[in-house]
């Protein structure tokens, strides 16, 4: 599954813009991935400007 290192996140929304299934919820200082709809496609991990997201097993 894809995890967000929340303490590092700048809430810029770049990940949201490429998510093919629109499963990332972003507010002013809150970010969540809906793991039920996430397909682990990794695009958000790749596009994050500051390496905030990562793939982790389980």
């Amino acid at each position: 599954m894809i995890k967000i290192k929340e303490a590092l996140c700048d809430f810029c929304g770049t990940c949201v813009s490429v998510c093919p299934v629109d499963c990332i919820e972003l507010q002013e200082a809150l970010i969540k991935i809906d793991q039920n709809s996430c397909t682990d496609c990794m695009l958000c991990v790749y596009v994050c400007p500051i390496e905030t997201l990562e793939y982790s097993h389980g």
């Binding site: 700048d10 810029c12 929304g13 770049t14 949201v16 813009s17 490429v18 998510c19 093919p20 629109d22 972003l26 507010q27 002013e28 990794m42 695009l43 991990v45 790749y46 596009v47 994050c48 400007p49 500051i50 390496e51």
Partner: protein, 401 residues
């Protein structure tokens, strides 16, 4: 706040605020929602803007102009500089103050503006047409009706998806960006620098935009296509270490820029998209401020006319789409093709381009000559590029429209 509006706009960046401003001027009852606590902050922008484009919307104002730009330096991988002089090139803005100013314009024209208002979903009426917005504000959830909802929520563009429009960007059509606002660095006071290199900024460039007083925005955008191998943060750290090892970082900004053509669909019954949410930024420079404001002005006017006419159907709102294509959309398509060609050039190609341009006499070193040399084997594209330079107010590096 009321429970019924003519137009509700989600997002108070330049696109949303200018839409709200012009819809209000046209007599519509308007509500402008911003999710963050401040309008204009955090800044997610290099803050460069072309003079002609800016002036087509607002008169420059010393309150939000940080610096006047009188030319650009295009820098090759082997560090040769092509200087292009233009006394009226453009400005570096203070976006925080600028964005506030635009929202204030909207408010003075009669729009209601609300911050910390986080849109959660859209409401739908008969035949699935959009007819309102659900948003939360300090723990309260409100559902308000609107004849027209405008998605101006930036590169994320979730509002468009809620309305049933596909707005996801391909990885090759997004620039992933990091910027430091630095002090104690030695930069030319009135020149914007663009550093091109496939090695050091793949599918994008590094910029240095001076804000005056030895302060400058130093940033990088790279194509999403290449970001999986190395993030823009790491490229920027290396550049700053090499060029400004003693500089201080006053602000760090992070964000994504759409470098696509305009979204295939930007209007539906009772619904419009503007700005980055509609992918209206200049795909070669990434400049989005002027296109967002140009689109906002058109969208706001059309929204007010639609309300007045009692017809908010897609076919009425398509007037905005058509006007956008006439104003900027057609040019943007050419810019997109230029982007695709230019960002494929190797560092060797870029070096040869720089050498070829520098062999010209100084007065012939123009942006057009740069493209002619860079794309010498693509004559039809050069012809298209020439059209762009003649017609557009959001010129290729204007500096960043």
């Amino acid at each position: 706040m009321d429970d019924q509006y003519d137009v509700i706009i989600i997002g108070a960046g330049p696109a949303g605020s200018v839409t709200a401003w012009h819809a209000s001027l046209g007599g519509a009852k308007v509500l402008l929602l911003e999710k963050d606590r401040d309008i204009g902050y955090p800044v997610r922008c290099a803050e460069g803007v072309g003079a002609a484009g800016l002036q087509s919307i607002v008169d420059p104002d010393s309150r939000w102009i940080a610096n006047k730009i009188k030319g650009v330096d295009l820098i090759s991988p082997h560090l040769k500089t092509i200087h292009i002089l233009n006394e009226d090139f453009g400005f570096v803005l203070n976006r925080k103050i600028f964005d506030n100013f635009l929202a204030e314009k909207a408010a003075k024209a009669g729009a209601e503006v609300l911050t910390k208002a986080y849109a959660e979903s859209l409401c739908f009426g008969e035949n699935g047409r959009v007819n309102g917005v659900v948003f939360s504000h300090f723990g309260r959830r409100l559902s308000l009706r609107a004849k027209i909802v405008v998605g101006a929520d930036g590169v994320e563009s979730r509002v468009g998806r809620w309305a049933g429009i596909r707005t996801q960007l391909k990885m090759k059509d997004i620039e992933t960006c990091v910027q430091y606002t630095m002090s104690n660095i030695d930069v030319k006071p009135d020149v914007c620098e663009f550093h091109f290199s496939r090695e050091r900024s793949p599918g994008g460039y590094i910029w240095i935009f001076p804000k005056g007083d030895g302060i400058a925005n130093v940033g990088i955008g790279i194509s999403g296509e290449y970001a999986r191998y190395k993030s823009p943060l790491r490229y920027l750290e290396k550049f700053v270490q090499e060029h400004f090892p003693k500089g201080s970082v006053l602000t760090t900004a992070v964000g994504g820029v759409p470098v696509s053509v305009t979204n295939r669909q930007i209007v539906k019954d009772g619904f419009m998209l503007v700005g980055d949410a509609a992918h209206q930024a200049n795909p070669i420079s990434g400049g989005g401020i002027v296109p967002a404001m140009v689109a906002g002005k058109l969208a706001g006017k059309v929204a007010a006319e639609a309300v007045q006419a009692g017809d908010v159907s897609q076919s009425f709102l398509e007037k905005y789409e058509k006007q956008w294509y006439r104003a900027e959309g057609r040019t943007q398509k050419i810019m997109y093709r230029l982007k695709e060609a230019v960002y494929k050039l190797t560092d060797d190609d870029l070096n040869k381009t720089a050498d070829a341009v520098l062999s010209l006499p100084e007065e012939k070193r123009t942006m057009v000559s740069v493209f002619k040399k860079a794309l010498f084997n693509r004559p039809t594209l050069i012809l298209e590029a020439l059209k762009v330079f003649k017609t557009s107010i959001t010129e290729v590096f204007d500096p960043l429209s």
